[in-house]
Amino acid sequence: MRMSRFNIVSLVFGIAFLYLPILIVVTYSFNASKLVTVWGGFSTQWYRALLSNAPLIDAAWVSLRVALASALGATIIGTMAALALRRHRRFMGRGLFAFMLFAPLVLPEIMTGLSLLLLFVALDWDRGYWTVTLAHMAFTTSFVALVVDARLADLDPSCEEAARDLGATAFSAFRRVTLPMISPAVAAGFLLAFTLSLDDLVIASFTSGPGATTLPMRLYGQMRLGVTPEINAASTVLIVGVTLLVIVASRLTRRHRQA
């Protein structure tokens, strides 16, 4: 089937619209000139400047630690929640449970941030690394649950039932039978939670405190002052990092589908 000219134009236009701005940021991160519109030759000086930018490096470490810890926590609780919802058709408060689990997906970030901060204030917890981590866990749990739930929906429950009939305990049937089958979805959920946490500005701004400035918060502060080649370089590092993660994630799910 040949594609019509109109369809080809739509495709080219749409993809250019999505990619050109990003490509320009990446290109200009290698610009020797400090000016944004003038090309002054190829240079990696902004990447070297990045390495000596201590506040930015600190923020990157905070972000990585928050993302790792919150994604781990969200993966455990999100997977449990998806299992609870799929495996137990009737329990008290199941409707409320499902609502609480999936409503955060559509809640504006600014509301999530505000409400979690007010919780931390009400509980009198000092704001900092742990409150950001908990806040990120809170909003990414729903995304993990969504991904794992989709996988559980396609799963044949008779495998686990067979294991139980053959004498396995509930936990061992889960660990030896169900978990291996849903593990690609669990891994994909983890990566999704990780990138969402790494990316978040609004919720972190509300729930963070002194000494726990995340990378997006630091970048946002600099972006408000204008476009600089150094932010271009930092952005390029992030874009490449996340793209690699996504490639790994899609490999994981594809290998599973072929098997």
Binding site: N7, P21, A84, M100, M111, L114, M223, V227
Partner: protein, 294 residues
């Protein structure tokens, strides 16, 4: 029935980190602001007991909501948020529909690749994508620079710091949200219907408009809601791309909270935002339910 940890642990987690915070926002929205730390005086104290609570509900402090009605700034912010989110959503639809259509009509072995191309930018940081637009659209940015050196314009086009910038910013950041549901609907279509219309003498456009388009309503509604709902509460787009005169609820809420430290008023704004979102969310819910039963 014995209590299962697989249910109990997430249940308690969600109650603490979703339900309780929302209840606190609601409670604070009815409280008065104060020069204190934390900067508000709660109306309901947990220790009061039901009797006192009931009395207080009768004399509930609506001062924050009254302030919202009195001050035209807030009403303006709500109206312009709805307008900008709607305009942005329309622009996304206009770009996404031909795109989803072209992918659905591409050779079968190419479709997954094309769809992946659309989704990958969604994974790169939202903040960075908006930043990329700043670099392009500023008066001294690349678009204006290129147009000027080609001799097409004399004065820079007003692409930055205004409503247009926000609309384009929304379109740019939420494009995949629209393409995916549209593609899901288009992919399932029976193209022989459109071919039949063509055979019976309809032009390509007429065949599309009368036969294909009406079959994709569900995808359009789902896509429109998936873009409109987050765009309505957007903060980053109006803050970085809009000008000082562009009002959106998210930005006003942010400045009430961080700038004026009026936490009760910020909470009241959040409650209003939630009420505003209730209708589109209810529609989305009905759509999802129907899809599950089909």
């Amino acid at each position: 029935m014995r209590v299962r940890p697989v249910i109990l642990v997430p249940f308690l987690w969600l109650a603490l980190f979703f339900l309780a915070p929302l209840a606190i926002v609601l409670r604070l929205a009815f409280s008065e602001s104060a020069q204190a730390r934390p900067p508000y005086r709660p109306v309901f104290a947990w220790a009061d007991g039901w009797q006192v609570w009931l009395e207080k509900v009768k004399a509930l402090g609506l001062s924050n909501f009254e302030a919202m009605l009195d001050e035209p700034l807030y009403a303006d912010a709500f109206f312009s948020s709805v307008g900008l989110a709607a305009a942005g959503t329309l622009l996304v639809l206009l770009i996404a529909y031909p795109l989803a259509y072209a992918i659905a009509r591409a050779p079968r072995d190419r479709r997954l690749f094309l769809l992946t191309l659309i989704v990958v930018p969604f994974w790169t940081s939202f903040l960075i994508r908006i930043y990329a637009w700043i670099a392009l659209s500023k008066p001294e940015g690349l678009i204006n620079h290129a147009l000027k050196s080609l001799g097409l314009i004399d004065a820079p086009l007003p692409l930055f710091g205004n409503h247009l910038a926000i609309i384009i910013g929304i379109a740019y950041s939420y494009l995949p949200f629209m393409v995916l549901p549209l593609y899901a609907t288009l992919e399932k279509l029976d193209w022989s219907l459109e071919d039949a219309a063509r055979d019976l003498g309809a032009t390509r456009l007429r065949a599309f408009w009368r036969v294909t388009f009406p079959q994709t309503w569900r995808g359009i509604i789902a896509g429109v809601l998936l873009v409109f709902v987050p765009a309505l509460g957007e903060f980053i787009v109006p803050d970085l791309l809009g000008g000082s005169d562009t009002l959106m609820i998210g930005k006003v809420l942010w400045s009430e909270f961080f700038g004026n430290r009026d936490w009760p008023l910020a909470s009241a704004l959040a409650v209003m935002l939630l009420l505003l979102l209730a209708l589109p969310l209810a529609v989305l819910r009905v759509l999802e339910d129907r899809r599950e039963t089909v």
